[in-house]
């Protein structure tokens, strides 16, 4: 085995990096891949709660780096998917507890034991971001169709190019088809034209995401909704499958509301 190390980053906070990491981890594991998801947001860990594994954490990545435990001991096994693991961030430490070299070392140890290492990057362009991209073979950038998020994504693309970490691929998250239709939201082609990067997924806004975060059950696990499908499609694209981008459903009209009623 030689894992692909993929970092999920964004620049701006709150655009869905952690949600994307959790769901891609789940979706890849459902496709039979052995996945380790690393929370690289030291001091502000959240991947554990989004994956629903917060009560099973014993050690964290800083413990591994400081030699308090072995790497294997810190890996939290997902209760639902035997091939999915979480390496949690430390909550009571800060970014200075980890260096880029430490991250590379941890990832190289994991490389022979799994198919994918997914790294959930912290927001920003500081040390935490640098640590998260240091070991990456590939980078996925998450953005929303908003001016501030797209601007920050552009900055990240520039930094990745300077580091020789490109070309990154883009996930456009939380797109609202009805707003796009009304001319009140940037559409996928707008964002792609502006950023000039390859698209790997479009994820529509979906209330199921908030519900799933409430429960600690990522949507990709069993939800039949649009966001779940979108994340599962991205996982298949990561595995080289040619999956067409889905047509987004407009749920604002009468038909859409009816469809929502039927689904719920």
């Amino acid at each position: 085995m030689s894992a692909r190390i993929i970092t999920i980053t964004s620049g701006k906070g709150g655009v869905g990096k952690t949600t994307a990491t959790a769901n891609l981890g789940v979706a890849l594991a459902l496709l039979g891949q052995r996945v380790v998801a690393i929370d690289a947001d030291i001091g502000l860990r959240n991947l554990d709660v989004v994956m629903g594994l917060e009560n099973r954490i014993v050690y964290d990545i800083v413990n591994v780096i400081e030699g308090v435990c072995r790497l294997r001991q810190a890996l939290v096994k997902d209760k639902r998917l035997p091939e999915l693991y979480l390496l949690p961030a430390a909550q009571t430490r800060d970014k200075s507890a980890v260096s880029a070299e430490d991250m590379v070392k941890v990832c190289e140890q994991l490389r022979n034991d799994c198919d994918f290492v997914l790294i959930d990057s912290p927001a920003g362009i500081e040390q935490g971001f640098r640590n998260a991209i240091a070991p990456a073979d590939e980078v996925l950038i998450v953005t929303t169709p908003e001016v501030s998020a797209v601007r920050d994504a552009d900055r990240i693309i520039g930094l990745l190019e300077a580091e020789g970490k490109g070309p990154a691929r883009l996930i456009i998250n939380r797109i609202k088809p009805d707003m796009v239709r009304r001319g009140d939201m940037l559409d996928t082609p707008d964002v792609i034209e502006i950023l000039a990067v390859e698209l790997i997924g479009i994820v529509p806004e979906d209330e199921a995401i908030i519900i799933s975060t409430n429960k600690g059950v990522p949507v990709a696990l069993d939800n039949k909704g649009q966001a779940s499908l979108a994340f599962r499609n991205i996982a298949r694209r990561l595995l080289g499958e040619d999956v067409p981008f889905m047509a987004l459903k407009d749920t604002s009209g009468l038909l859409g509301r009816f469809a929502r009623l039927v689904r719920s």
């Binding site: 797209v150 601007r151 552009d154 796009v180 001319g183 009140d184 939201m185 940037l186």
Partner: protein, 77 residues
């Protein structure tokens, strides 16, 4: 009235030109003033008509100076 989507696109295009080149609108103005001063030493130009713009390539930008020339001083004199 352009849609807010169109406005967002236009604003992003402009702000990213400055972000990517690290040239602020203020610096652009300084460049423009200095260019006008230097070129005016040698040729007569329409100062009001000078336009300094960026044209966008895929991920690279080009600084374009459009300077209307009225005639060289040499010829006039």
């Amino acid at each position: 009235m352009p849609s807010s989507r169109e406005i967002a696109k236009e604003r992003l295009h402009l702000v990213l030109v400055h972000d990517r080149t690290d040239i602020s609108p203020g610096l652009l103005q300084i460049l423009k003033d200095e260019l006008i001063a230097v070129i005016s030493k040698h040729i007569e130009i329409d100062r009001e008509g000078v336009e300094i713009t960026f044209t966008q390539g895929k991920r690279y930008n080009r600084l374009v100076a459009d300077i209307p020339v009225l005639g060289t001083r040499g010829r006039k004199g």
